[in-house]
């Protein structure tokens, strides 16, 4: 109850600050950009904003990582200058976007690891069907023949499997479950979404860090965690069998490779999940930032385009240091071409 009131109050506060950097000096112009959206991008936005504003001291950028859903809502209501999201609008919601035409600009790829905690086992290989059955609690022992079949030669202990998953609604859950519906359509029955109907005997953690914490502190645990949090917690993660049959570990290079073997629509909507590329890590998630095609304010419009341009070029080099992956060159070119269409008065 209280939480809801606080949320409403905060929303009000955000609306209040929207028209911040109104007073602009003559040339170039100073501007304050307010943005909100995906928590997935938070670490990248922080480093990108820091180095961008260091070079452009007259521009300030605020990124509120309140989740993709909040980003889409804020962008539709025009309370932010741009927003970032892990998933595009549903067709039914497009009519609610008040500012007219807008562009999706892809800027980040990131692997979602399947992290585990199993004494004596450092390397683990999993195929999609086995992964699906583990997370549905149909496989409950680590020495199950199905797991052994994926790991020829390894000795697996007789430990019970503890499944860790998110307690909060999340784009990470959405991408993980979407991957399972694509890669193991027969085995996976829980469908996909920001929250799904997890079996009652799974452990829930808040945020990527909450799941990482459960995996780290529980023997026999397995959970899906983004690469940066998995690395920060020092977790071991599994190599997953991709479409071409290779077991691939979650790395920055394997995530960028996933961006190569995919079909990209004209509006730059794509999914890097379950990519066909031979070197691709199969659970690679993608994220976009959204910008209105017709900017209404000169100083802000110029600043938004400059920042997006930075994210797509020099900013891409910062991704690796926060354990995310740059987008492939072909996609980068398309994104820059799209950005060039933005009109600034």
């Amino acid at each position: 109850m209280n939480k809801l009131f606080i949320a409403v109050a905060l929303l009000g506060a955000c609306k209040g600050t929207e028209k911040g950097g109104g007073d602009k000096p003559a040339s170039g112009g100073s501007a304050t950009l307010n943005a909100s959206g995906a928590t997935f991008q938070k670490a990248f936005q922080e480093v990108a904003i820091e180095s961008f504003t260091k070079a452009n001291t007259s521009i300030k950028v605020n990124y509120g990582a309140g989740g993709s859903g909040k980003g889409r809502q804020d962008f539709a209501d025009q309370v932010v200058d741009f927003a970032c999201t892990d998933a595009p609008y549903k067709d039914a919601d497009l009519g609610k976007v008040k500012g007219g035409e807008f562009f999706y600009i892809p800027n980040v790829l990131g692997p979602i690891t399947v992290s585990f905690n199993l004494e004596g086992v450092d390397k683990l290989q999993l195929s999609p069907e086995v992964l699906a059955k583990i997370f549905q609690r149909e496989i409950t022992k680590w020495n199950d023949p199905a797991i052994a079949a994926d790991n020829a030669g390894a000795t697996l202990p007789d430990t019970g499997i503890v499944v860790a998953r998110r307690s909060d609604g999340s784009g990470t859950t959405e991408n993980f479950t979407k991957y399972l519906t694509l890669a193991a359509p027969d085995a996976w029955k829980l469908k996909s979404g920001s929250t799904v109907e997890w079996p009652a005997d799974t452990q829930a953690g808040n945020g990527n860090s909450g799941v990482a914490q459960i995996v780290k502190s529980t023997k026999g645990a397995i959970g899906y965690v983004d690469l940066s949090d998995a690395k920060a917690s020092g977790l071991k993660y599994a190599a997953l069998k991709n479409v071409s049959g290779a077991f691939v570990e979650p790395t920055v290079a394997a995530a960028t490779a996933a961006g190569d073997g995919i079909e990209i629509k004209d509006n730059l909507i794509f999914s890097a999940l379950n990519s066909k590329a031979a070197a691709a890590y199969p659970i690679t998630a993608q994220s976009w930032c959204m910008v209105y095609a017709k900017q209404t304010d000169h100083a802000k419009g110029t600043a938004v385009v400059a920042y997006f341009n930075y994210m797509l070029t020099d900013g891409q080099k910062l991704l690796e240091e926060v354990d995310f992956a740059p987008i492939p060159k072909a996609l980068q070119d398309k994104a820059l071409a799209q950005l060039a269409k933005v009109q600034v008065p």
Binding site: M1, G69, K70, G171, V196, E197, N206
Partner: protein, 292 residues
């Protein structure tokens, strides 16, 4: 001169009356608007699910199925555990402070208990995760949540009970003592019967707080789905915890379902609070009538 003065004070009276009316009406207006807007936004899910919203155990956003029964159960069950833990402690402390404690101890104890009431709930929640779940190995469960909520509502119940108990007229207590009653017999014969209504009210206010608590419950209850069980060691979920966890990424029908949860919680807590206020008021009227 006098006419002038009267005129001015009449203006003052009128202005005061309108401000007072306005303030009173504003509160009702806000409450009414909240109820109205929330009920309106809860309509889609009720239209979709019908009565199943309150009786189904399945909550699956991808399937578009929203059954709130496990969360309603979790809210009521944890609140019941909280009250069961808190009531004996609270009453004991209240009786100790009012009837047993030496004068020099009374003031600091009252002060400490009131201080406990202002500790932010997230602190209790984190303490619950670190100490109860991990160190004591209770895990995330109905019991862990119930214990945390019990600790949180203890100060409220204690300080309300203390005030109710202190309204017992000295004459009644002295009468009992004069008849040769021990201290416990005096408490049983004159203090408890006198303050029964007020104590029930205090407990119900605590119950209302326990049901509405969000963060502490969300941290320790375990967020497990479909759990309608008396097993206190099982993980479960409560209405406010679900709302806090799932709101951010929810789409339209899902949001409507979460708002419907909020309305359900709103109705239950308001009902509990109204009953509590009625009981407290009745008992206060009665005790005032008896006081010489």
């Amino acid at each position: 001169m006098q006419l002038d003065l009267r005129g001015r004070s009449a203006y003052g009276d009128r202005a005061f009356r309108w401000i007072a009316y306005g303030a009173g009406a504003l509160v009702l207006l806000i409450l009414g608007l909240i109820a109205l807007v929330m009920a309106d936004r809860a309509r889609p899910v009720i239209g979709e699910m019908g009565i199943d919203f309150f009786s189904s155990k399945r909550w699956s956003a991808p399937d578009g199925l929203y059954g709130a029964l496990p969360f309603i159960w979790g809210t009521l069950y944890t609140a019941a555990i909280a009250v069961a833990i808190s009531v004996p402690v609270s009453l004991g402390v209240a009786l100790f402070v009012t009837q047993v404690a030496p004068r020099w101890l009374k003031k600091p104890m009252v002060y400490l208990i009131d201080l406990l009431a202002v500790v932010p709930s997230v602190v209790f929640g984190l303490w619950g995760v670190l100490v109860l779940s991990h160190q004591f190995g209770l895990g995330r469960s109905f019991l862990t949540a119930g214990i945390i909520l019990g600790i949180m509502i203890t100060p409220i119940i204690t300080s309300l009970s203390r005030e109710v108990i202190e309204t017992t007229p000295a004459s009644e207590k002295e009468a009992a003592l004069a008849l040769g009653a021990t201290r416990w017999e005096m408490i049983r014969a004159s203090v408890l019967p006198h303050s029964k209504g007020g104590l029930v009210g205090a407990v119900m206010l605590g119950l209302g707080r326990a049901m509405g608590e969000t963060i502490a419950a969300a941290l320790v209850i375990g967020s497990a789905l479909g759990q309608v069980t008396l097993n206190a060691f099982a993980s479960g979920n409560s209405m406010p915890a679900v709302i806090a966890n799932e709101w951010g990424e929810a789409d339209d029908l899902h949001k409507s379902a979460l708002i419907a949860l909020a309305v359900t919680l709103f109705v239950i807590t308001i009902a509990v609070n109204l009953i509590a206020t009625a009981i407290v008021q009745r008992s206060m009227k009665r005790s005032r009538g008896k006081t010489p």
